[in-house]
Symmetry: C2
Subunit: 350 residues, 2 copies
């Protein structure tokens, strides 16, 4: 029972593969210090050109890749931004795509976390924080405002596409009024008067769009034609709203302005199946101009948000908060503009 040579319980190496090489391995290979290797990899002054070359060569030879986790831990700043998005939302996917370039430009690494049906936003956010995100970019978060506020007190947070009353976070979004206004102008200009709105319930952006629709209608003297149908930001929401319109006894409006593209596509679907001609009988307008709307087979008239700039502003806002150049709480709004495609046209006389 010689307890000396108990096998040290090291089932630590997960794979049969050889251990990942570390900085120390590279240093040993060259007979220099780890610090030198570190310098070289961080592209800092203090190493001669020849040494740099030798270090890179040795690293390549050994297959050494810097370990982020250790780097993050050691460095005060992690330079990691956490991005929360909803996998199913094409507009979010567009945003994620657009966030990468600016993040890279400002020297940030991105960690993505998707909210999916089986994994709610709270969990997704926790994962981001756990992975040492310095700041969070939340694409259209649906969690309670106080939760976001709470998060904002812990670390810099930038919310995209949702209005908040008083959370200590930055907000980057589009003006809803001009967009909705343009939609209504466009439809009225085509001759529509019965313009309904399928709203997005309490989903990010929805209340504002609803309000903007109402205002726009009012300013066209169409206050009495305001017709708001409950919906949400999914295809199903649009489908249900369309079924409701078909079954209801108010008759079909000549145009429907949906709270987002997915909802609009749901409308489109049910209407076309029911033999309703788009846009002859009903014009449909969405919101977001997600890449799905652009699919020319769908060809949805919609409101384009300036995704690249939204993304850029969001990353810059996070960066500013991180650098402490200003306190959180800024609200940045961009113009959005109507993109006329095939689902809107003049109403036919009845």
């Amino acid at each position: 029972m010689t307890p000396q040579n108990l096998r040290q319980g090291n089932d630590r190496s997960p794979a049969p593969r050889s251990r990942k090489p570390t900085m120390a391995d590279v240093a040993a290979e060259l007979g220099v210090s780890r610090a030198l290797v570190s310098l070289v990899f961080r592209d800092q002054p203090g190493a001669s050109p020849e040494t740099r070359e030798r270090v890179f060569a040795a690293a390549a030879r050994l297959g050494y890749k810097p370990d982020m986790a250790a780097r993050l831990l050691a460095r005060g700043r992690s330079k990691v931004l956490g991005v929360l998005f909803t996998a199913r939302n094409p507009h979010h996917v567009d945003l994620v795509e657009a966030i990468y370039p600016t993040a890279e430009e400002l020297g940030y690494d991105l960690v993505l976390s998707a909210a999916v049906p089986s994994r709610d936003e709270h969990k997704a956010i926790e994962a981001l924080v756990g992975h040492r995100s310095e700041a969070l970019l939340l694409c259209g978060p649906t969690i309670a405002e106080e939760d976001i506020a709470d998060l904002g007190t812990r670390l810099p947070v930038v919310v995209l596409g949702r209005h908040l009353k008083c959370a200590p976070v930055d907000i980057v979004t589009s003006y809803d009024r001009p967009g909705a206004r343009e939609v209504v102008d466009h439809l009225v200009g085509l001759g529509h008067r019965d313009i309904a709105h399928v709203d997005g319930g309490s989903k990010p952006g929805a209340p504002e769009r609803r309000r903007a629709y109402r205002d726009a209608m009012r300013s066209h003297g169409l206050a009495d034609r305001v017709r708001i149908l409950p919906g949400n930001h999914t295809e199903e929401g649009g489908q249900e709203a369309a079924r409701g319109m078909l079954a209801g006894d108010e008759g079909l409006p000549t145009a429907v302005f949906a709270s987002n593209d997915q909802c609009a596509i749901g409308l489109l679907d049910v209407f076309t199946r029911a033999g309703v001609k788009i846009p002859e009988q009903v014009s449909i307008v969405g919101y977001d101009d997600s890449h799905i709307a652009g699919l020319s087979h769908i060809d949805l008239t919609t409101v384009r948000q300036d995704v690249p700039r939204l993304a850029r502003l969001a990353v810059e806002a996070a960066d500013e908060q991180l650098r402490g150049v200003r306190d959180p709480g800024a609200t940045l709004k961009l113009e959005s503009k109507l993109v006329v495609r095939g689902t809107s046209g003049p109403p036919t006389q009845r």
Copy 2:
């Protein structure tokens, strides 16, 4: 020019916010050791129920959240799986959604990295490795096989939806033959004989689907009708192929089998715009059954891959490699099946 008091470039404290609490803070708050707090947070035996409660209470009070980077570093196993996907590919997004549940079940955390136009797969993969992913799940990677092989020698890799000759990685994908076979059977059953294929070039899965199409045609005695048009896995690819067909002097086939859904949607688009009736004049079939195909407005006949099982198998394969219960190199294939929707129908006599 007193070089002494150069401001030491310490932009280390990123935010004006107070430092994130650590385990030591929690321990100090209670007057216990860090190890105890660690035990409690890892849900390990060795702490009394009352102590556990006190620890959690103190942690909540301070807003302590375990730091992944440190945890990863300290632990041999990081329990993180890196997932590479293409943001623009809806099928990939479906896969990512499906990967979460199994990963969680097996105790893995996920780090996502998107390949986007401005950021190629190499970079995306590097980020994953850097963030200490223990294993990689690559959704339809387009990088060179040798690069994947190289990666496979460094850490466990599971490739989804692409065939590889001899890389030391696991492969999880669908049988292409039965799927393509079903497509051709279906179309032939409807009365089609002129069935073209718009291929996906060298994109993951494309060569196999092309081959499977050819075989299926041959077995129906339609070898002489085999017509393969160059394309790729994007909408644009489909559009170009459709334009080619419209402009070419071979005439339109009565049915087109596209290498993936996006490509099929491109076809759909150009054809409908050109006034070609779908499916009366041309039937169109896609591949993947991504959620876009399911959008009932598109209503694409397509081949459904069993995404939930693909995802589950992929995570399990990664887990098995990590546990070292088998060497890499397994290939798992699942059945896929035809989903008949509205874009396929009997050809009209001409």
